[in-house]
């Protein structure tokens, strides 16, 4: 039963990882950009949530109403101000610029908030749990998983059923011809990043409620998101959810064997998938 419990917890944890990964996947899909600062942006969102809850005295979920538009705005400005200039055939500029961004965000957070671990207090839902078939599931992890599914469903809807999504796919296919259609690619990329960071905001708030965070954990969150994307397969958001779940389960089962083994178990699962299925389990595009 303990093992079943570990698997269930892993599945729910996978929801959080899928949220980490969703923004990463979206941006790569639209503009072939991998943002090394992605994890640090998640942590930034958590800190913004913290400041909002302190300043306005509201619950973290309410703080989302502030943090989401704020992060979206940051995303748009970041893309149009800096990242658009790095796009092109050379892989070095986006990589090195986002790496620089990562260092800047980490140290700016360190300067502003110090290295002390912080946490968002979600109140009752943090400790509440439901019991299903003998398995106890925390309300927060359950909610997180549900939100992850909803977010992915929403992103798929936007991508495949709206004019905005049509624009994303067109610009991703052929930038020049998309411009001929009246799409300003600088703006489209900006909107894509804004959308991705709105998702990052959700991920950051949920992360902050679940565990304590500090400025240095961004790299780890990027790696989890990245592993979920690779395990699931590129170009497929539902695959990313599956990837997150597999990663989460590997970690919780590993933790069940030995608490210190949790992270390593996840990495090993990732490396195994990389070895036998380099394109992931449900790929839609090549790397």
């Amino acid at each position: 039963m303990d093992w079943v419990n570990a698997v269930v917890q892993g599945v729910l944890l996978g929801g959080l990882y899928a949220l980490f990964a969703a923004g990463l996947s979206l941006i790569f899909g639209v503009m072939r950009l991998v943002n090394i600062a992605h994890g640090d942006l998640i942590v930034l969102a958590a800190y913004l949530g913290l400041s909002t809850t302190v300043l306005l005295g509201v619950h973290p979920f309410v703080a989302l109403l502030v943090v989401m538009p704020l992060m979206a705005g940051i995303g748009y400005a970041l893309q149009r101000g800096i990242l658009n200039q790095t796009l092109g055939p050379d892989i070095l500029p986006p990589l090195l610029v986002t790496f620089g961004l990562s260092v800047i965000i980490q140290n700016a957070l360190l300067e502003t908030y110090t290295a002390d671990p912080r946490k968002l207090s979600g109140g009752a839902i943090e400790t509440a749990s439901v019991n299903m078939g003998g398995i106890t599931m925390g309300v927060l992890p359950l909610l997180t998983f549900g939100i992850a599914v909803a977010v992915i469903w929403g992103l798929q809807f936007i991508f495949y059923r709206t004019a905005l999504g049509r624009g994303f796919r067109a610009v991703s296919d052929n930038q020049d011809i998309a411009q001929l259609m009246g799409l300003n690619k600088a703006h489209v990329f900006g909107v894509a990043m804004a959308l991705a960071l709105a998702v990052v905001a959700i991920a950051g708030i949920l992360l902050g409620m679940r565990t304590s965070f500090d400025p240095a954990i961004g790299g780890g969150r990027l790696i989890f998101g990245f592993e979920a994307v690779i395990i699931g397969g590129l170009g497929n958001l539902w695959g990313t959810l599956a990837g997150g779940v597999i990663l989460g389960v590997a970690q919780t089962v590993g933790a069940r064997i030995d608490p210190g083994f949790q992270l390593l178990a996840g990495h090993i699962a990732f490396l195994v998938v990389l070895a036998v299925r380099p394109n992931g389990l449900f790929p839609r595009v090549e790397h």
Partner: protein
């Protein structure tokens, strides 16, 4: 008939100047104080790391954010092979390089499946795996690390002054050897193949260059030398721990900034970058995180406005090349 040469007046002057400089630096134990020698050793070791990272990223197009894996590996091999293998520290460091070369091969087969930025993050995952694995080894201090036993330290030199001099010469020697090795490699036909790959992979493979194999060779050799430098670093520090050994900030962030700001894809770039980096560090010594913030900003601005770095600007402005690598055609007068 036109003449084709590689050396220029500038490179000849630089070679002469370099030899003089080398003699002066080698004599440092006789004219420099302890603190200065430690600083210079640190500069040599960072220069080595930067030159190696530049070879991989700037020439082979393999942008790794995980070289700290090998730095830490080299450090831990020093400790493991001396304490448990009874080997002389220098032998242990060399052997660490060989072992690093060996494990880098299966690692390469894994990470080479990823491209571009995904490759970069993949190398980071590998470094994390190394960190987590070594943290499990209780014999080497587990999560809190261990110190190098005095007896082993004394094998470098019984008297402190001798030890300091030997450590210094090891670091200087490493930098010189690595710079020379990379230079010789780039001048060879393999180096030419690498430059071809960097400039255009499709064209290069069309010419029959085995891209995968060339990249693998560069990855293995770079990892081996990086591990050796790692061994030297921790020989100086005398203490190792998983977080210090596999620190992204210390062994990757700084190195990347050095190469980017100095000038990626040139041999002179890492030299310029290392000097600038340490100058900046002395300047902002009291400011902790501000230092990293400034570095990050400078790196971004350089990448956007002057992607060839400081040396790239100098080179373009004065058509200068200190390491004779390019061919020049002199038309018949």
């Amino acid at each position: 008939m036109s003449r084709v040469t590689r050396t220029t007046r500038a490179s000849r002057i630089a070679t002469l100047g370099g030899i003089v400089l080398l003699v002066v630096l080698a004599a440092a134990p006789y004219w420099a104080g302890r603190a200065d020698m430690r600083l210079m050793s640190e500069i040599y070791l960072y220069l080595s790391l930067a030159t190696l990272w530049n070879l991989m990223a700037g020439y082979a197009g393999l942008v790794s954010v995980g070289q700290q894996a090998y730095v830490g590996f080299g450090g831990y091999m020093l400790f493991a092979l001396t304490v448990f293998g009874g080997l002389n520290p220098i032998v242990a460091i060399m052997l660490g390089g060989v072992l690093a070369a060996l494990i880098s091969i299966p690692i390469a087969t894994l990470v080479f499946r990823l491209k571009g930025a995904y490759f970069a993050i993949g190398t980071w995952v590998i470094a994390e795996v190394f960190r987590l694995c070594f943290a499990q080894v209780q014999a080497l201090g587990g999560g809190s690390g261990s110190s190098l036993p005095v007896a082993i330290v004394k094998e470098i030199g019984v008297k402190k002054a001798v030890r300091e001099a030997n450590s210094y010469w090891l670091a200087l020697g490493a930098a010189v050897i690595i710079l020379a090795a990379v230079y010789v490699f780039l001048r060879s036909h393999r180096g030419l193949a690498l430059t071809a790959i960097r400039d255009s992979e499709t064209a290069a493979s069309g010419l029959g260059i085995d891209i995968w194999r060339t990249k693998l060779e560069v990855y293995v050799v770079t990892s081996a030398f990086t591990a050796i430098v790692g061994g030297l670093i921790f020989l100086q520090k005398l203490r190792i721990s998983p977080d210090a050994a596999f620190s992204v900030n210390d062994w990757t962030a700084f190195v990347i900034f050095i190469v980017v700001i100095g000038g990626i894809g040139t041999l002179e770039g890492p030299i310029v970058g290392t000097l600038l980096f340490f100058a900046l560090r002395e300047l902002l010594a009291d400011f902790g995180t501000i230092y990293l913030l400034v570095l990050g900003f400078v790196a971004i601005i350089v990448m956007l406005k002057a992607p060839k770095g400081v040396w790239g600007l100098i080179r373009a402005r004065y058509d200068l090349e200190l390491f004779p690598l390019s061919y020049r055609v002199h038309p018949k007068d």
